[in-house]
């Protein structure tokens, strides 16, 4: 799983670089617009250490943000699963709020909370929270009748058991959604850093943009991509391990 993810990333990244080189040499663009492969290698060796630390910084924020958003999504999803007034209210609120782009709210957070760790964390959590919430709400609101019937008619159904049954029956879907939300968390953090933060790879990209340094941006993209690929593979492996332990398959 890990090697497949990394391999897939390399294919996509180098196809993208190949496309850029094709553009550069076919249109005769200067190294200032698109650096030559040797120039990119030079930037890589020069900036590798600093950019790696910045990427790890961003990744840490994204991981914490994702954990927070998954916990929040489960709490709200479990509370909103019932067909009561409160459950319906939560569902309607979730659908309506997620329609508003979180990125548009980011400047407000930076004004209120400054450009530090907390703002980046909040933006990351908010961006990956709603897709996870919608999936969890959908899963938790849908009864698994052929299993739940017995517990209902015999008066044994408790909310914990209901949640356990629905989680177990939709484990693959939940694992996929959580692994997929890692990309959103990373994207959210980078967007936050890009807007106003003072650390992280998004901040480094912003500086590179001000310098019009395409080489630095491409190296940053490489490090972001490889980090997300490894993290997603880790989440998929974790999901597979949980599934194997729980289902015995």
């Amino acid at each position: 799983m890990l090697y497949r993810r990394i391999f897939q990333f390399f294919i996509i990244y180098f196809l993208f670089i190949g496309g850029l080189m094709l553009l550069k040499y076919s249109l005769g663009l200067s190294d200032y617009v698109i650096p030559a492969p040797s120039g990119m290698f030079h930037i890589l060796t020069a900036e590798y250490h600093r950019y790696s630390l910045a990427t790890l910084n961003t990744m840490t924020v994204a991981v914490i943000g994702q954990i927070l958003s998954v916990i929040m999504a489960f709490i709200i999803g479990i509370l909103g699963r019932q067909s009561t007034w409160f459950g319906s209210f939560i569902k309607v609120a979730a659908f309506n709020i997620q329609a508003y782009p979180i990125v548009a709210l980011a400047p407000i957070l930076f004004i209120l909370l400054g450009d530090g760790f907390l703002t980046r964390l909040l933006i990351a959590a908010m961006i990956c929270y709603f897709p996870v919430l919608l999936s969890v709400l959908g899963i938790m609101s849908k009864p698994v009748d052929d299993i739940e019937h017995f517990y209902r008619v015999t008066g044994r159904m408790r909310w914990q058991l209901e949640v356990k049954i629905r989680t177990f029956e939709n484990l693959t879907q939940l694992t996929t959604v959580i692994a997929g939300s890692a990309t959103l968390a990373m994207a959210g953090t980078i967007v936050g850093e890009f807007i106003a933060a003072n650390a992280g790879i998004g901040y480094s990209i912003r500086i590179a943009l001000y310098q019009s340094d395409m080489g630095k941006i491409l190296i940053a993209l490489f490090l972001i991509g490889i980090t997300i690929a490894i993290y997603q593979a880790f989440l998929e492996l974790l999901g597979a391990a949980v599934k194997r332990a729980w289902t015995g398959k």
Binding site: I147, H149, I165, F168, T247
Partner: protein, 230 residues
Amino acid sequence: MPLICDNIAFTYSGAERPLFTDVSFQLTTPGFHSFFGPSGVGKTSLAKIITGDIAGYSGRVSTAGLKTLLYSHNKERLPGWSGVDRHLTRVISPPMHAQKDELVEIFGLSDCITSRFDQLSMGQQNRVNLIRYLLQDCDLLIMDESLANVDELTRERIILAVKDMFPDRYFLYISHNVIEVSKFCDSILVFCNNGRIPQTVMIQGCNIRRGEDLSPTALDAAMLEIMNAV
């Protein structure tokens, strides 16, 4: 009278015609009773009306003599996160654990009782599901094709054992097997097809128990009566 259904009529919302009308019957003695008839005539719907799972019908259902009514069917599953025996132990009260072990033996499940539910065959799954319902505190258990996919000999062994072990309980057995219902059931409510009036007919089955001899003439008569009614 423990169970009285009087002039029950039911139409599914959006349906042009009622599923059934004027269905009346009474169950006065515990034991094995049956709903029999072709698919789609309303056996399951009537069972769910009796247990209160379906509302919006007309007529009267009186279950005054029965405290707890349970409906079980053959599509039910047990959660897959642990073995079947562990699930059964959790949902059956401790004083009934000895009975559980006895039923597991009689139902022919001893070899697979530690397996997970999805590792069992369909017949084994139905038998496991039936065991957990049998060992609940209830007065009427509706078994909607609960022994589907189980071979005939095992089905016979199971029905006779259930009749022996739970003599004071009411069972409503929904089945498509005319020999089985004629042989083991007491009252058989036959649902007629093709809009015949009346839509249901109550027929007396042979209701044999363990150790009793079955009269072939009585069985033939019951089967003939059922087939004529359908």
